[in-house]
């Protein structure tokens, strides 16, 4: 356990080192936040209460999604490319010899990264959004606490997915294609482009059940106070369910993949 805590801390510090890159990322998230916020204002002016959100709630959704984008690695990034490169180059053999579990190791490292990016890249865009627009942020600290818990569960779901994507490299060697597809799914089905509540009919209902919904839509709705009491428990259970399922699938694939590894001498 202490080992994985150390890995998580080093993951945090690794990303904290690149301050200019963090500032550049914050700048970009903020610019995108402004652009999307104005389009949402136009949209909600035409159709107030679209998707069950008021305008302030819709704007909150925009800025929360810009704040969580890096932490949840919604558009890719994170660790899977590094894992794929280690698989392709064969360095993975060294990793497997280490007295540490592959999945737990990367989980810890990626959790450290996510925590840094939640603070380093999440707080400023949300604050700028709150200063420039009228947002519907909750005053109750318990709602914020539930939001953080929901973010943690959302992260676990995201990690579970990206670990599977990373392991694809054992069979495909070049991960560029799957990474791209995964980034696309993340962008569209998480609600980054448009809240999933706005998606129409049965398509919308299906999309809200997919794991990507657990990464942004559910945490944002928790922060907006749309889930309370039993509803909140259901929302968190939905996230936890996907997390357990994906992490277990990652275990299975990992054991299948490692039997494939052949270490050549020399």
């Amino acid at each position: 356990m202490r080992l994985y805590a150390a890995v998580a801390v080093s993951g945090f510090r690794r990303y904290a080192t690149y301050r200019v890159a963090t500032a550049a990322g914050v700048f970009t998230n903020t610019v995108f936040g402004f652009v999307i916020a104005y389009t949402f204002i136009a949209l909600w002016d035409e159709r107030p209460h679209l998707g069950g959100y008021g305008q302030a709630q819709a704007l909150t959704f925009v800025w929360v999604s810009q704040g969580l984008l890096a932490a949840m690695a919604l558009l890719g990034g994170g660790f899977q490319e590094e894992l794929q490169e280690r698989i392709r180059s064969g360095d993975i053999a060294v990793d497997l010899y280490r007295p540490a579990d592959l999945q737990l190791w990367w989980f810890a490292a990626d959790l450290g990264r996510a925590l840094f990016q939640l603070l380093g890249r999440g707080v400023v865009p949300l604050a700028v959004g709150a200063l420039c627009f009228e947002l519907a942020l909750p005053a109750d600290p318990l709602v914020w606490l539930a939001f953080l818990l929901s973010c943690l569960l959302g992260f676990a779901v995201g990690f579970g997915l990206r670990f599977l994507i990373g392991l694809c490299a054992f069979w495909l060697l070049d991960g560029a294609g799957v990474n791209m597809v995964s980034g696309l799914m993340g962008m569209f089905f998480s609600g980054m482009l448009l809240p999933l509540t706005v998606f129409p009919g049965p398509f919308g209902a299906t999309v809200r059940l997919l794991p990507w919904a657990a990464m942004l839509q559910v945490p944002a709705d928790v922060l907006l106070g749309l889930h309370t009491g039993a509803g909140l428990a259901r929302a968190l259970a939905f996230q936890a369910g996907w997390a357990v399922l994906l992490l277990a699938a990652g275990r299975v694939v990992q054991s299948l993949a490692t039997t494939k590894v052949v270490v050549q001498g020399g």
Binding site: Y18, V20, A23, T28, V35, G177, V181, L194, P200
Partner: protein, 273 residues
């Protein structure tokens, strides 16, 4: 020879490096197919989001779906063209950091050409294809009496828009000589700018429209010329001839970006590693 025709040498070098990367891409054909489709879909999803919006409304900021499609297609094509020709220039910061930039300096090809062709990604045809499809659909459905001059004007709009985005890519790369980790800043102006231009200017605050007209003149990519095509009023009340300034703005910006690149390259000091 190379000294007498620096532009020709640059283009030749660019073509050689591009050809090499295309061959290398084709070594993993499955990945190439997937990434091209992915690139097509990635920019397509933006449009799907717009379609979803229009499933709830008839007009956004007073613009119909066909008009938004015209705006969207024009900026997507422009960005796609710039992205294809020199979209990997943002890797320059990484090259400066790990010292491989020095290798480029000793090769007998202009550095700008090498950096522009670095990791040339043919998959970016996907974005251009998607943008062209939406543009075609928009052109067919907007309420405009198309004539040959209007058609030519549209082509000029897309090409000079691509040149404007290209100058942003070059300026962004030059900026990385001073801030090697700031690759992401230029995304705000390229991808972020394109996202902005997909929507009608009436949606945005006037200060923002002013900013992208006078400070970073992205409005010349599609807003000003497309508003003229659609017979719409200029949101800032600028005189009519401004709508035709796209190519000049593009030339000016390319010159500026080229100068910035020169200054950046001159100020480069190797880390020695």
């Amino acid at each position: 020879m190379a000294d007498r025709f620096p532009v020709a040498a640059g283009l030749r070098g660019y073509a050689l490096v591009v050809a090499m990367w295309v061959r290398s891409t084709m070594a993993y054909r499955a990945s190439f197919a997937m990434t091209t489709i992915g690139n097509f879909a990635a920019s397509g999803l933006d449009f799907v989001a717009i379609l979803l919006m229009f499933s709830h409304i008839d007009a956004l900021g007073g613009f119909s779906l066909a008009e938004v499609a015209l705006l969207y297609g024009a900026t997507s094509c422009s960005l796609g063209l710039a992205d294809l020709t020199l979209g990997s220039m943002d890797r320059i910061g990484r090259r400066v950091r790990d010292g491989t930039f020095d290798t480029l300096l000793v090769r007998p090809v202009p550095v700008l050409a090498q950096v522009a062709a670095d990791r040339f990604a043919l998959r970016r045809l996907g974005r251009i294809g998607q943008g062209a499809l939406v543009l075609g659909w928009g052109v067919a459905h907007v309420d405009v009496a198309w004539t040959l001059p209007k058609g030519l004007f549209t082509v000029v709009m897309v090409v000079s828009g691509a040149a404007i985005f290209a100058s942003v890519f070059i300026a962004g790369a030059a900026f990385q000589f001073w801030a090697t980790e700031a690759a992401e800043v230029q995304n705000s102006f390229t991808y972020g700018g394109s996202t902005l231009l997909q929507y009608p200017p009436t949606v945005f605050a006037t200060e923002l429209v002013r900013g992208v007209t006078f400070v970073v003149p992205l409005a010349f990519v599609n807003w000003l010329p497309a508003l003229r095509l659609l017979g719409r009023d200029n949101p800032l009340g600028l005189p009519g001839w401004v709508d035709f300034c796209g190519p000049f703005v593009a030339l000016l910006m390319l010159t500026g970006a080229g100068l910035l690149w020169r200054v950046g390259l001159r100020s480069y000091r190797s880390t020695g590693s």
